[in-house]
Amino acid sequence: MLLEVRDLHVEFTTRDGVAKAVNGVDYSVEEGETLAVLGESGSGKSVTAQAVMGILDVPPGRIAGGEILFKGRDLLRMKEEERRRIRGAEMAMIFQDALSALNPVLTVGKQLGEMYEVHRGMSRKDARAKAVELMDRVRIPAAKQRVGDYPHQFSGGMRQRIMIAMALALEPSLIIADEPTTALDVTVQAQVMDLLAELQRELNMGLILITHDLGVVADVADKIAVMYAGRIVEAAPVHEIYKAPAHPYTRGLLDSIPRLDQKGQELYAIKGLPPNLLRIPPGCAFNPRCPMAQELCRSDVPPLYPVTESPVARASACHFWKECLHG
């Protein structure tokens, strides 16, 4: 197993109290596998990723419990210096907005080369040659001429390719992509996702794809973890979940995708708002918005019920997953 997150808890101390951003998340990624983490803003998907990368802002953030096993070693027990050497070399992250994630005062060649200077101790000249190689690899046209350009001289899609190149520079075994295509327009989105998927296959990397776009997920992911209020509410292989969701929240997400045959009708939306993380409702966190909620949902927190064990593992954190699955 490449990465295994076990019962992770993350809290943020705020002026109004302790916000529980992640409440016992379990997920795992194998080499060459793509896990899509799906959820609304504030569901804890990015915070989980930051905890894995070790770039959580501490304080106000705090890892309150759990384990993050990377190649069998618990990252949370490592010394900071050791983690720093892993970051970038063995696990890397792709950020949402490449324009703000690239340093405006350094040329892209310098930023790409920096990876080799920091981790491999290469000379500037060699690092620059490697930077050109990387830019070719993510198919930036005229890489040799553009290596000395600044980030603002590239288009959005090209900038995201540069972000991908930076993440891939040292051929890490795990990549976390935090909404890599959200800031791009639709045609470019597909190109960037295809590139990412292709490079992943080539290098046999594990990929955690954080997104709220179900359309992106269907094409590239192997399995999906749906998060709500800091918990995983449903985990399943990608095709199973599209066929028959086993959690009312997942069902709501799927129903809110616009479809061609719904022309002229009002688009479905899950009513209500995501819960305030300072005051997560008792019982199932989704119960105030759930169309199937009953008394049990308001009192008891649902565990992650196994839905099927084989041939594929599926789980749902709904007391009434059977009704949801078949209804």
């Binding site: 992250m93 005062v105 040329t107 920091v118």
Partner: protein, 339 residues
């Protein structure tokens, strides 16, 4: 941010530091205005690019080259820079325009008006006012430049570290800075400098640094805090950069502009402060030649011999004005929001 696609106007003459190579249409022998450390690798690029590989491309503009481009067309900058260049030259080589000795005086000519070879007349001691005004630039520029460098280095180092790491060190530094802010400049000068017996410029420089660093530290702290919240600093961390690399390579270059602006404007006020302290008799002392000392000596004789006051005071005003104008121009160029 400037429009990246903006084409260069025809006849644009590249001057100044630009870390970008120009590729000629033929792919060989492009303009050799390259940054030094990139010259080698660029040669390789030009050889392999081949004819017709790319047309003449617009030049990369970093914040700095863009600011420089803007500055060069600003008349305020040209005037102030020319003045400052002149002042610096005569501060280093006053003999260039004054052949006399500022300390060679003839009491018999006390307070006389202008005479052939002595256009500004004589002061109470019979010294040539023109020569003394020219030589006075040295003290003012030395104090201004050294005090600004000292305050900027100390202030940005302390403020930058405090802003980057935060925590109790930050709180402590901010309170210490508040204490120094609370010291009244003239009163503090009278107290601290009246016990000093040295006749060099260093006690004055030291005092100005002592009072000047908190201002720079506040600016540096604020702009480092802003810069460190940028995604690219997080990204650098996620890709394995350590604290030193993040601070020096990713935060500092993006936080330094406001510090430069404030320091440039402060330089003018530091020169005025030196003159104030010298006027009060606690700044520079004779035999150092200083505009402040001359203004002080001339002030009581203003009705008998106003020329003794006007020339050094005029020189002081123009110098302070030049530095403040330069600071203004630099601020306009470095702050994209003001464009």
């Amino acid at each position: 941010m400037p429009d990246p696609e903006r084409p260069e106007p025809a006849g644009y003459d590249p001057v100044g530091p630009r870390p970008k190579e120009a590729v000629s249409p033929t792919g060989q022998g492009g303009p050799m205005d390259l940054a030094l450390d990139e010259a080698e690798s660029v040669e390789g690029i030009e050889k392999t690019a081949g004819p017709g590989a790319s047309g003449p491309r617009e030049r990369a503009r970093s914040l700095w080259s863009d600011a420089w481009h803007q500055l060069r067309r600003n008349p305020v900058f040209i005037v102030s820079a020319a003045l400052i260049l002149f002042l610096v030259l005569i501060a280093i080589w006053p003999q260039l325009i004054a052949s006399g000795d500022p300390l060679q005086c003839d009491l018999s000519k006390s307070q006389q008006g202008s005479a052939p070879g002595h256009p500004f007349g004589y002061d109470t001691q019979g010294c040539d006012v023109y020569t003394r005004t020219v030589y006075g630039a040295r003290a003012s520029i030395t104090v201004g430049v050294c005090a600004t460098l000292g305050a900027a280095l100390l202030g940005s180092a302390l403020g930058g570290l405090a802003g980057f790491f935060g925590g109790w060190g930050d709180s402590l530094l901010s309170r210490v800075a508040d204490i120094f802010f609370g010291i009244p400049v003239v009163l503090g000068g009278l107290v601290f400098l009246s016990v000093v017996t040295s006749t060099t410029v260093w006690p004055v420089v030291g005092f100005i640094v002592l009072l000047g660093w908190p201002q720079i530290a506040r600016i540096a702290r604020g702009s480092v805090i802003t810069a460190k919240q940028n995604d690219y600093v997080q990204a650098a961390r996620a890709l394995g950069a350590g604290n030193a690399r993040m601070l020096l390579r990713h935060v500092a270059p993006n936080a330094v502009a406001p510090v430069i602006v404030v320091a440039t404007i402060a330089l003018g006020t530091y020169i005025a402060l030196e003159a104030t302290l010298s006027f009060l008799g606690v700044g520079l002392r004779p035999p150092t030649v200083s505009w402040g000392i001359d203004i002080s000596n001339a002030a009581s004789q203003i009705r008998n011999a106003p020329h003794m006051l006007l020339w050094p005071a005029g020189a002081l005003s123009i110098t302070v004005l030049a530095f403040i104008m330069l600071g203004d121009a630099v601020r306009d160029a470095l702050d994209p929001k003001l464009r």
